[in-house]
Point group: C2
Chain length 422, copies 2
């Protein structure tokens, strides 16, 4: 078995050490040496620097196997904060996390809908400021903001191809615009990848260093965690299982190809099939009399899901059909990546996960290619609606930004919602 | 963008340093510090050890930007050798490489056919000894043998699920048996992954650190190189695009699932379709009168390919149909991994690559999901028939085995074929 056999030269060693301390909770210098492969002298110098910056504190001693007890290190959680923003058609989710990764505040607001991008960016800046204020976080301690959205994305030009509902966002320089509006560095990344990192960060995937999330929001995607880090591919757009072909003669997808998972079985396909079935449409509130309140695909998919969970057979059949295709696409992902854990996350699965999970588990049990060597476990995320925003904050914290002190620009607090603080 | 942000603790630092020197050709100590992220003191100690072991030599000085000229280091190529063996139904390919990665000898012999595994293992040991003798390589300098075969594989139990033609190999402890027979450590791995590493090692993928190979031999697989190392998944079985579903109602595959790429479009499916068409069967020598000489799927597929290349329309149509499905499966791989380079390798593509490549390139140009961000180039390997064996040797060299001195057991040279030495 051959691994990535060399240390990565372009990743800040300091950021890597912070990451190891965060993952460990508390750790001794000897533990850091073992975990990072760095020398004692290097670790000693790095730790001294982190303590001087107030990012790390010494916190008691651990029993040692012979010799003197070892001093334990931990992050000073409130030394830095990061903001995570998950932007989607159906909703915008915000979280604030400490340097140690704890979520100190979160809130959900209206999605981008049909608003123009600059209007939404201004609103996001106000909402970020409101959330920080409500949580009592000093804006000067915010070192960065992670912003995640549906892919494919490119830095400085934002979304390069969008679902029809978000066409006005194509090539809008999202990261730069938000950076100008909030005054802290903004990292732009793929929402499905962020959700995977959010699951990893929240410790929900147990001790596994390599796993995938299947993400269902407005569309379907996947995020890949490999050896504890996000695998993002050559342009940050890995994991597009929504655009895996399951039928060469299948329906045309908005991406241009035919027979994509998303076109056959994604939330929009389920909603379209529900509308076409009078009984399901009525049960889900999608018939002509009652649609007005449900403007986004995500909300409409949730309505079909609720009808299925209330026992409507037609709605249930639509979800079961979707689950069968999503299960096959997930098997493709597992066969290509050789996985043993898949976590279902995203707002779509928050409600519909109980329908999809058993179908997906059965598919993998029966047909995963390497099933004679090991199985693939399918789990439902307990943070399905916030995982992408948590992962966005994690990206900011894991980046080179952490040691910097932010200079958050405070827009007028035009919107002073009470934020959920926990 | 988030990378694997920590140094890997379980990889030998010495093996990693050897790998960096090999990739660079010649490099200074300062260059090693920069490439590995290790400290000057660590590099100094490691290099001294490698020089003492005769693995590394100093070789002149480079101009420096100010200060004294830097001493350059390089591997002593003949200090160690590795053997790579690619075992398949249709043929066994052997290579011998130096520590620096140069191929000094290669040969091809009959495949496993219907022989019992222990008989084939004894033959392999003789063939390895013969190849080393013909190349004038001192067996005491062979530090390891990489053995690759079709997956799924498990260490110490070999193949866990096999195509019908190799059923007698299921759960045969291949690595242990060959290790006993040749007396050097044997690493067992997946042939498609090895082919990817072989392409990387041969420098055929240019400077790309992340790319995939699509491998066609008896079946279809893929190998994944990520950040310069092989991505192998949780059990060494990543890249199984032969078992990506392209049709939920498609034909049953030997793996148990339906509509796999291999079942619809793999070499065996092409050969079956050729046999069913009287004109193609005759043109390819697969009709009843002439089949006797072509016992393996690989040889039969090559015969169909030759008929197509000679201009037989029916044979060409069968390959074009196969290419269309393989192209879609490759697009799936590119969408999941977000790739910008795919190299076609393996004996199947050695002959049929010119038919498959344009179909695959057109598919990726039109329908790759992130095409607005970057394209995906498809290239044909110039070492298609030996890439897996070269990669097998590379696995042995990149492992922890290198610093050890081998104690190759020499079996009787029952087979003294002249090996191709280059």
């Amino acid at each position: 078995m051959v691994g990535a056999a060399r240390a990565l030269p372009h990743v800040s060693t300091q950021a890597a050490v912070i990451d190891v301390i965060r993952a460990a909770g508390t750790i001794s210098r000897a533990g850091l040496i073992e975990e990072t492969g760095l020398t004692g002298a290097t670790i000693s110098t790095l730790v001294r620097g982190l303590i001087d910056q107030g990012l790390v504190v010494e916190t008691g001693r651990a029993e040692s196997t012979g010799g003197k007890p070892r001093v334990l290190l931990q992050l000073e959680p409130t030394a830095r904060y990061a903001v995570g923003v998950h932007l989607d058609h159906a909703g915008i989710v915000y979280v604030v996390t400490t340097l140690a990764g704890g979520v100190v505040a979160q809130m959900s607001r209206a999605g981008v809908g049909v608003d123009d991008p600059p209007v939404v960016v201004e609103r996001m800046a106000r909402e970020v400021a409101a959330l920080l204020a409500s949580a009592g976080v000093d804006p000067a301690r915010v070192s960065g903001l992670g912003l995640v959205a549906p892919g494919p994305l490119a830095p400085h030009s934002g979304m390069r191809l969008t679902p029809p509902s978000m066409r006005q966002w194509e090539d809008f320089p999202l990261d730069g615009a938000l950076e100008d509006a909030v005054g802290v560095p903004v990292l732009l990344d793929n929402d499905a990848t962020a959700a995977a990192l959010g699951e990893h960060w929240s410790g929900r995937a147990g001790a596994r260093a390599t796993f995938a999330t299947v993400y269902m929001g407005t569309g379907i995607g996947a995020g890949l965690i490999v050896n504890g880090g996000a695998y993002v591919g050559v342009s940050g757009n890995a994991g597009e299982i929504g655009h895996v072909c399951l039928d060469l003669e299948g329906p045309e997808c908005w991406c241009g190809a035919r027979g994509c998972t998303e076109a056959i079985a994604g939330p929009a396909a389920v909603v379209a099939a529900a509308r076409a079935d009078r009984s399901v449409a009525r049960a889900a509130g999608l018939d002509r009399r009652s649609t007005s309140a449900l403007t986004s695909t995500g909300a409409q998919f949730a309505a079909v899901t609720r009808a299925a969970l209330r026992g409507h057979d037609g709605a249930r059949a639509l979800l079961d059909r979707s689950a069968r295709y999503v299960a096959v696409a997930t098997r493709t992902l597992a066969n290509v990546m050789d996985l043993d854990l898949v976590v279902l996350t995203g707002p779509g699965f928050a409600l519909a996960g109980s329908v999809y999970l058993p179908v997906m588990q059965a598919e993998l049990d029966r047909f995963f290619f390497s099933r004679s060597t090991h199985g693939v476990e399918v789990r439902l995320s307990p943070v399905a609606t916030t995982a992408a925003a948590i992962g966005a904050a994690a990206m900011a914290l894991q980046s080179e930004l952490v040691p910097q002190r932010g200079t958050l620009r405070l827009p007028d607090r035009g919107e002073q919602h009470a934020a959920t603080t926990r």
